[in-house]
């Protein structure tokens, strides 16, 4: 299987451990990623907060770049990127005049034909049966709180993925790999997102609630599919512990980390040794 790959800035920056683990998994599963040539940032929260036109134009240029390379499907493992790409795609599909004017703005014809997949969807496309067949080390010791955060399932009308209040897609993957999952309350609550730098207190408060609720329901780790969630729950976890005077010691895995472990990779091969919170 060949598909276009839009890494986004985070996966080529401080979340390069996410890219390391997803590349390891996908190569083993015979999925070949072709990085979009000269992709640009999707604009993220800054663009949709400060300029609506820019927040359509930046992702639209990336859609056009993928189309020009002939790809019908593109993996965007960061939910912020994939939501922005899908939102632009939807806006252009609904408004021909907008599509024409945005095409002029980005200096490429944007047809909006490329499908955008998040990482969970890619694993679903590969198939749970194929994943199951590839398992070398079942996840027997893992009892995961699957954490979706905001943008994997919201806005539902844009991302059209899973149930936006009670998603189950990650749990199904974990269970196919021999892991256990817990029922808990904060699976689609926000971790504080891009406020890490500008408004740290928000991140500490929201992420503390998520970590506490996961532990209260018996989870021994959290599984995420978002670089921003990982930063807030993993890198910020020591700051959360200091602020609240508690000890969470909750390992935070990317979905591709746990898939990789089940496929038989060592933690170091997946970049898990580069996380801030280590397994107790």
């Amino acid at each position: 299987m060949n598909l276009a790959y839009y890494p986004g800035c985070a996966l080529h920056g401080s979340s390069n451990d996410y890219e390391q683990s997803l590349r390891a998994c996908l190569e083993t599963l015979d999925v070949h990623l072709k990085e979009i040539d000269d992709w640009i940032c999707c604009g993220a929260t800054a663009a949709h907060s400060l300029n609506q036109k820019l927040s359509v134009a930046l992702p639209a240029r990336n859609l056009a770049l993928a189309e020009d390379e002939g790809f019908r499907e593109m993996l965007a493992p960061c939910p912020m990127c994939s939501m922005q790409l899908l939102k632009a795609r939807k806006a252009l599909a609904e408004d021909e005049a907008l599509r024409r004017s945005v095409s002029e703005i980005v200096e490429l014809e944007v047809r909006g034909e490329t499908q955008v997949l998040n990482l969970i969807q890619l694993f679903e496309t590969i198939g749970l049966d194929r994943l199951k067949a590839a398992v070398k080390a079942p996840l027997g010791s893992i009892c995961a709180a699957c954490y979706y955060g905001c943008l994997l399932t919201r806005p539902a009308s844009v991302v059209e993925f899973d149930d936006c209040e009670q998603p189950r897609s990650m749990e199904k993957i974990l269970e196919a790999l021999g892991g256990k999952t817990v029922d808990w309350n904060y699976r689609t609550e926000c971790c504080g997102a891009g406020m890490t730098m500008a408004n740290e207190q928000t991140v500490l408060d929201l992420s503390h609630k998520i970590l506490s609720n996961a532990a209260a329901h018996g989870a021994n780790c959290l599984v995420v599919a978002c670089p921003m969630c990982h930063v807030n729950l993993d890198m910020k976890q020591p700051a959360i512990e200091r602020h609240y005077g508690v000890r969470h010691a909750m390992p935070i895995y990317y979905l591709s980390d746990v898939v990789g472990l089940a496929l038989g990779f060592k933690p170091e091969a997946l970049g898990i040794d580069r996380h801030f919170v280590r397994k107790a």
Binding site: S14, S15, T45, S49, R61, M197
Partner: protein
């Protein structure tokens, strides 16, 4: 300012918000579901339901100066749960844009405004985000703004930890065709706003 000026100026905000957010303010019947699900509502000066009500009643200037619009984390819960399909998160985006363009964002929330602006300047320059540069630029602009030394050096200990984990690149990636990125920015917005 004469009363009629106040009315016409604030009245013109609502159609702008509606066109930026592609949503209808008057569809809201004030059920409060947006506020009930909002993770930030408890600390907001004006929670989402009341922000929409202010717009309905023509008090847009109070909405544009609210702390709440910059406290919002864009989690999209409000928009997803609205029984009338009002895109409340989109309204928040529109209010932020207008508030920043008019320079009326509340002083307490300037840090968030400065962060978003530094982020966009970084992309305009590099095509892709350079995290180290962004942090430096954001810290410097907040220092110029508030002269807080403690905030300037806060998180400084994180940098070596990120380096140790090979999560920071001293030389960040750049897009090759940065000129096209600059042209896209120029066609979308007034560059002097950043």
């Amino acid at each position: 300012m004469k009363l009629e000026n106040v009315v016409s100026e604030t009245a013109s905000v609502v159609p702008l918000v509606e066109s930026l957010a592609h949503t209808r303010i008057w569809d809201c019947y004030q059920c409060g579901k947006c506020t009930a699900g909002c993770p930030m509502a408890a600390g907001m000066d004006i929670p989402p339901t009341r922000l929409i009500r202010l717009l309905q009643l023509g008090h847009a200037e109070r909405a544009l100066e609210a702390q709440a619009i910059w406290q919002c984390v864009s989690c999209q819960t409000c928009a997803t749960r609205c029984p009338k399909s009002v895109d409340c998160a989109g309204v928040m985006d529109a209010l932020r844009q207008l508030s920043a363009e008019r320079g009326v964002a509340t002083p307490e929330q300037q840090r968030t405004v400065l962060f978003q602006k530094a982020f966009l300047r970084n992309i305009r320059r590099n095509g892709r985000l350079n995290e180290l540069e962004l942090i430096g630029e954001f810290k410097f602009s907040t220092f110029l703004h508030g002269r807080s030394l403690s905030f300037l050096f806060k998180d400084a200990t994180l940098a070596p930890q990120l380096m140790k984990r090979k999560k920071f690149h001293l030389v960040g990636e750049k897009a090759h065709d940065r000129a096209v990125v600059a042209r896209i920015f120029a066609r979308c917005m007034d560059n002097s706003l950043l």
